[in-house]
């Protein structure tokens, strides 16, 4: 599978009205597609990526030269089978891999947006995706799939555009950010903003990068994506290239080295301001608050078929939040399936090759496609 960077300019005639009240005109959305659109245009699957993801879900990411973040699930004969489905994934609004975000030029001022980029929400991202889908001439999505912040988007799609979504698979996700979620994000943001190289957000103009701040933010966040068991299983108290501790503060333990590596590689591929904007959008996500009567009213009479998946060791968005969504959907007689996958891999389990998880996605998609007559 070959990847090339595709972008599209949206909001040329009608601008995107943001939740903040501001408007975005002539903004870019970068996207990738995999597989082929069939004649009836009924085999389209939209993948929504998470905080640090991008549009390169499958194949090789041309920037990192590594396999796409969901290359284990999307591809020929994989659970999201590109022989059957036409898969679209766009870089979220505010992202940093081609879509308009803080590191892009503001077409109105010809200067970098930096912190003048408007604060965006999950719903804004979804609206931008809808504009992309419209532009591509696609009326209905067979499924909208996403994990974590991608799950927020899947839930938002079903809430905002129920007539355009046949099914949704929100994975390892929640309907709102909890106090703890916000707290972890705030530490990450403070790490970035207290790095002197952040330069009040104008580091591109100053030809600097807040590498330390961003990498600490990533290290912290990465701890939350795993579980206590997974850390113990992977690293225990193993030492990094030495036989005994060095009685100092350089890297002694493997887990330290691992986290530093996670931080460093992230800095090479991610923009610090994008990290601020996207974590903020996630913190602002509060789906029940979008309508009086909460989730039940939001999904009342919904035609969307849901398959909600959680992981036992996910402590970022624990199963109880998925169950609350399931209960609300059941309360309004919506069509919902729910599975909690047993794993010690934590929140990131959805990115890994979990057999039972893959089978759930494969089964739900193929049965939905069969019902809809996708050949």
């Amino acid at each position: 599978m070959k990847n090339s960077i595709k972008t599209i300019i949206l909001g040329k005639k009608i601008p995107l009205s943001l939740d903040s009240g501001k408007q975005l005109k002539n903004f870019k959305i970068a996207y990738q597609t995999y597989g082929k659109l069939n004649k009836n245009k009924n085999n389209v699957i939209l993948i929504c990526h998470a905080l640090s993801g991008d549009q390169f879900t499958a194949g090789i990411n041309p920037f990192t030269k590594k396999p796409g973040w969901w290359s284990k699930a999307i591809g020929s004969n994989l659970p999201i089978d590109t022989n059957r489905f036409f898969v679209i994934c766009s870089n979220i609004l505010g992202g940093c891999l081609g879509s308009t975000g803080p590191k892009e030029l503001n077409p109105a001022t010809k200067k970098f947006f930096n912190m003048s980029f408007p604060v965006i929400t999950i719903r804004d991202m979804v609206k931008a995706q809808k504009m992309l889908i419209d532009e591509l001439g696609i009326k209905k999505l067979l499924s909208v799939i996403g994990g974590s912040a991608g799950g927020f988007q899947a839930l938002q799609w079903a809430a905002t555009y129920p007539e355009n979504v046949i099914s949704a698979i929100p994975i390892a996700t929640s309907f709102r950010h909890s106090a703890q979620n916000i707290a972890f994000h705030e530490v990450g943001r403070q790490a970035i903003m207290s790095d002197p190289d952040w330069c009040n957000g104008n580091y591109i103009d100053k030809k600097k990068t807040p590498k330390k701040g961003l990498s600490v933010a990533r290290m912290l966040a990465h701890i939350t994506y795993l579980s206590e068991e997974a850390f113990q299983r992977k690293f225990g108290r193993n030492l990094q290239n030495k036989l005994s501790v060095a009685y100092g503060f350089k890297t002694d333990f493997q887990v330290e080295s691992y986290l530093k590596h996670q931080g460093q590689t992230f800095v090479d591929r991610f923009d610090a301001n994008s990290y601020l904007y996207i974590t903020r959008a996630m913190d602002y996500f509060d789906l029940p608050n979008q309508k009086k009567g909460g989730l039940k009213n939001i999904y009342k009479n919904t035609p969307v078929k849901f398959c909600i998946i959680s992981f036992t060791s996910d402590w970022v968005y624990p199963t109880k939040y998925s169950k609350e969504i399931v209960d609300s959907l059941n309360a309004v007689g919506a069509n919902v399936s729910f599975v909690e996958i047993q794993t010690d891999k934590g929140h990131d389990a959805f990115l890994l090759d979990e057999k039972e998880f893959n089978e759930t996605v494969r089964g739900f998609l193929s049965s939905t496609a069969n019902i809809m007559g996708v050949n």
Partner: protein, 208 residues
């Protein structure tokens, strides 16, 4: 696993006592639906809007794969989330005896659905009585194959016990079916009168 009472359940749904209950596409919840066999069986002859609640992740996956809408959950804990009368029929087939709190489960079933179809093995059957009387150990049978120390069936009861519980909770028994060990309905009059003695299991259509 082929459950003995599939055919009877299908007939109940196709021809309930109250003919206003004959619905084009009845909304049905199968509690403890295992791999979804009953839902698939019911859907073959008549279109249903079938949902399931199942405790095992593997079974839920099998159901989802077949296009069934099944939620991983527990009859003891999760029925409470469904709003009142949200189903036409709720089915609890051969599972009541394995719940922690049969009384609460039963009350939930008649709350969330217009009709509840409940079946369970009858511990009052003559064969079990005889086994206990003669051998003096906890009886085992085809429908109750476990040893007392491994059995998931923690709340076994007789048909008489069950009827008493329904009465206590003002649950109306609309229809009763008494089944022999082959899952066939007992039709001879003596068997019907002494149902608690002769039937291997009972199936009841309940309403509140």
């Amino acid at each position: 696993m082929n459950r003995l009472d599939f055919e009877i359940i299908r007939n109940v749904i196709a021809a309930p006592k109250d003919t206003s209950m004959i619905i084009d596409v009845p909304m049905i919840l199968d509690v403890g639906c295992e791999n979804g066999e009953l839902l698939k069986f019911l859907n073959k002859k008549k279109k249903i809007d079938g949902r399931g609640l199942e405790i095992s992740q593997k079974n839920v996956n099998i159901c989802v794969k077949h296009g069934l809408s099944v939620v991983q959950g527990d009859a003891d804990k999760d029925l409470i989330a469904y709003p009142s009368k949200s189903f036409d029929f709720v089915i609890l087939s051969q599972t009541l005896q394995a719940t922690h709190s049969p009384e609460k489960v039963l009350s939930q079933l008649v709350r969330i659905s217009k009709y509840a179809i409940v079946s369970f093995p009858n511990f009052g059957s003559w064969l079990l009585r005889l086994k206990l009387l003669i051998n003096g150990i906890m009886p085992q049978s085809k429908s109750l194959p476990h040893s007392w120390y491994t059995t998931p069936n923690i709340h076994l009861c007789t048909i008489k016990d069950f009827k008493k519980l329904c009465e206590k909770n003002s649950i109306k028994i609309e229809k009763s079916f008494y089944l022999n060990k082959y899952g066939k309905q007992i039709n001879n009059p003596i068997g019907k009168i002494f149902n608690n003695f002769f039937s291997t299991s009972g199936l009841f259509v309940l309403k509140k």
